[in-house]
């Protein structure tokens, strides 16, 4: 066995490049959905987000400004560089008018800057960081479904009120994890609690046992999981294996960002009783059920809040374009901010000046296997958090659009 190692080294040098499908269009409204279709967020966003956009187009009648609406989609593989090159091409060469979904906080912040330069819209559903409408806000950027501030307000604040006053974070080491940890820690401290420590794990990661053992040793009452998708799934699963935060241990897990797809994957025996904050749940009322069942027909899965948000955002954009009678970006944004959002996703939602879509959020708890009566019956809603409370007040905003007023 005497072959050189150089050949193997070469294998590591290969990078994976993204594929984008796009066509040029003249005059028709053209929508792009860029998200993670192959990596760890593919189930909570991915092709489900694309399908939600497609449904929005169909529900709108397929036409805007008298021409068929076009849809282009691409997989950014959770890589900000791929996201920016796709979106740049869409805006510069392919006449795309607005980009939707954009998971991964690093990617969404990068795309925000591309859109700002191109003077085109970016409407984020899956991406999380509250900086998007904070210090990085843009006249062309709208944040639809939730953000790290709202998650922190929902889960963080409630857990401190319930006596969880010492925290230890296990955090995904990129913009999203940092923002979620920061926003949650702020509520913990404001509530008189203490942050005992935080560990940043590489993104994505598989083995969390070393982090969990350290979190356990910290004796913090709450282990806050500032990660998402398969990362948080594996953390919760391995916590159960290592007996971390088991009943009677005096420690609890706080899943700061969980989607229905994560709970589905974990199964109720492992996920039960976790408290979480969400912007949407499929089984809230007749409207959400009607949409979700249509979605289920197509995807064989209930929509996550991220996917439902894409539908709502695309529809609202199309309504605005139709009302304005042109594709002009600033005019469309202005109209989107004027019109309340009333659909299956939000009641009296309002797009604020900083780009934040303010709507009610829900504090929920994962059901036990005994409580769950039918397929996808996963959450009980503990509390409706009014939009005005859930999202960062404008008075505290770092958004330059607000400050220059």
């Amino acid at each position: 066995m005497r072959h050189s190692a150089a050949g193997l080294g070469f294998a590591l040098a290969i990078t994976f490049t993204g594929l984008a499908q796009a066509q040029t269009a003249g005059g028709a409204v053209k929508i792009g959905v860029v998200n993670d279709q192959s990596s760890i967020y593919a189930d909570l966003s991915g092709m489900g987000g694309v399908e939600a956009a497609r449904m929005a187009l169909e529900d709108f009648g397929g036409k805007a400004l008298g021409k068929p609406i076009e849809l282009v989609t691409a997989d950014h593989q959770n890589k900000p560089d791929i996201a920016t090159s796709i979106v740049s091409k869409w805006f510069d060469a392919d006449n795309v008018d607005a980009v939707f979904d954009v998971p991964n906080s690093s990617a969404m912040l990068a795309v925000q800057e591309i859109a700002r330069k191109a003077q085109k819209l970016v409407v984020v559903s899956t991406g999380a960081t509250s900086d998007f409408t904070g210090k990085a806000c843009s006249p062309y950027g709208i944040h639809w479904t939730y953000d790290t501030y709202a998650l922190a307000y929902g889960t963080g604040k409630v857990m401190v009120q319930q006596g969880g006053d010492t925290w230890f974070f296990i955090t995904a080491d990129y913009a999203f994890g940092h923002a979620l940890e920061r926003d949650t820690a702020a509520f913990v401290k404001a509530g008189g609690g203490k942050v005992l420590g935080a560990l940043r794990h590489p993104f994505p990661n598989q083995d969390f046992s070393t982090y969990l053992v350290q979190a356990q040793a910290s004796k913090a009452k709450i282990i806050g999981l500032a990660n998402a998708g398969s990362d948080v799934i594996n953390t919760i699963k391995q916590a159960a294996e290592f007996g971390v935060a088991r009943a009677g241990s005096g420690q609890r897990l706080a899943g700061l960002l969980l989607f229905d797809s994560d709970i589905h994957s974990l199964g109720l025996p492992t996920a039960q009783s976790i408290v979480m904050t969400t912007g949407f749940y499929w089984d809230l009322n007749d409207d959400t059920r009607a949409f979700s069942k249509r979605f289920f027909e197509r995807r064989k899965a209930m929509p996550t809040m991220a996917q439902a948000g894409v539908h709502s955002a695309v529809q609202h954009y199309l309504k605005a374009v139709q009302a304005v009678g042109s594709k002009d970006s600033l005019a469309a944004v202005k109209k989107m901010k004027e019109m309340p959002v009333n659909d299956f996703f939000a009641k009296n939602g309002q797009v604020r000046e900083d780009g934040r879509m303010v709507h009610d959020m829900y504090l929920a708890q994962v059901k036990t296997p005994e409580e769950s009566k039918y397929a996808w019956d996963y959450l009980k809603i503990l509390k409706v958090i009014p939009g005005q409370e859930a999202f960062r007040p404008l008075a505290e905003s770092e958004c330059p659009l607000i400050k220059t007023r």
Partner: protein, 295 residues
């Protein structure tokens, strides 16, 4: 409890133990990769997909056929080994005399196809796989709670690695194999069916990856991307260890698991890159790898 460099012995012991457990996966995977590379001259990029297929085979056997974990631990590697047989007979055998690049590109493409197919059908979040009842629970070691399943993983991995080492280094079959690697033409002249040995080696490597996959199934979610996540590390382990000895792959796997764990303790942000930093350093200082022989 005492402190070493400001790190409590409690944290240190637990991390070293967990590192060894991760290392046992690296050892099993890199061993298979090194075997295949040595015998077939193929950089088997499909290795990660075969690991994933092993985990999925166990999951499918359990969910569709009610087959227990223990039976799956034997059956799944056999199933994946036979899929390896098909791949080797249909495609790989045409590439042995060509540059490494061809084998690498083919196996890379095949792994993309396999992972894409599983992703299409099962998504990325993964399927739950419970730890078998006989191995659930754990032992309190004083400095940490060690799940019984992890004890099983490390023992199974060590057992399998050492058994393979023994077969290759200490038995007649192994001597044929080693001779076949050195000089296939001569070995063939002695009446040994070298072609069959090549096929068997590939099946063994693929089966080993699948065995690691079944072991991993209850720890991680059974997911279409689990192989893609681990494969870059495995390649780095093989590069660091060099191709010189079977034992080299095993030792390197465990040692790198420990280095990774230690990094997680002192600077977790770097734990994903530390293995590649070691790889670069080794390539600069000793290009043939730690245990490799200069060609």
């Amino acid at each position: 409890m005492f402190e070493i460099f400001g790190i409590s012995s409690q944290a240190l012991f637990s991390l070293l133990l967990l590192g060894a457990i991760n290392g046992s996966f690296y050892a099993m995977m890199s061993l298979g990769l090194a075997l295949i590379f040595g015998m077939l001259n193929i950089i088997n990029f499909t290795h990660g997909a075969q690991y994933m297929m092993g985990a999925f085979a166990a999951w499918m056997l359990l969910n569709y056929a009610g087959v227990s974990y223990w039976v799956a631990l034997v059956l799944a590697p056999i199933i994946v080994a036979f899929s390896g047989l098909v791949l080797e007979r249909l495609f790989l055998r045409h590439l042995y005399h060509l540059d490494h690049l061809y084998g690498f590109l083919l196996t890379f493409g095949v792994s993309l196809l396999i992972e894409g197919a599983f992703r299409q059908k099962y998504g990325v979040s993964g399927q739950p796989f419970q730890i078998p009842d006989s191995l659930s629970g754990g032992t309190n070691l004083g400095f940490m709670f060690l799940p019984n399943y992890r004890i099983w993983v490390i023992s199974a991995s060590l057992g399998v690695c050492l058994a393979i080492w023994y077969v290759i280094e200490r038995t007649r079959l192994g001597s044929y194999l080693r001779a076949g690697t050195e000089n296939p033409v001569l070995v063939q002249a002695f009446g040994i069916n070298i072609r069959r040995m090549i096929t068997l080696t590939y099946m063994l490597g693929a089966g080993l990856a699948a065995f690691a996959g079944v072991l991993a199934a209850p720890i991680y979610q059974v997911s279409s991307i689990m192989g893609a996540n681990i494969i870059p590390i495995i390649f780095a382990v093989v590069v660091i260890g060099g191709m010189g000895s079977i034992m080299g792959s095993i030792i390197t796997g465990f040692v790198l698991g420990l280095i990774e764990a230690f990094t997680r303790l002192i600077y977790p942000e770097a734990s994903a890159v530390v293995i590649f930093v070691v790889m670069v350093a080794i390539l600069l200082i000793r290009p043939q790898g730690l245990f490799g022989v200069r060609s």
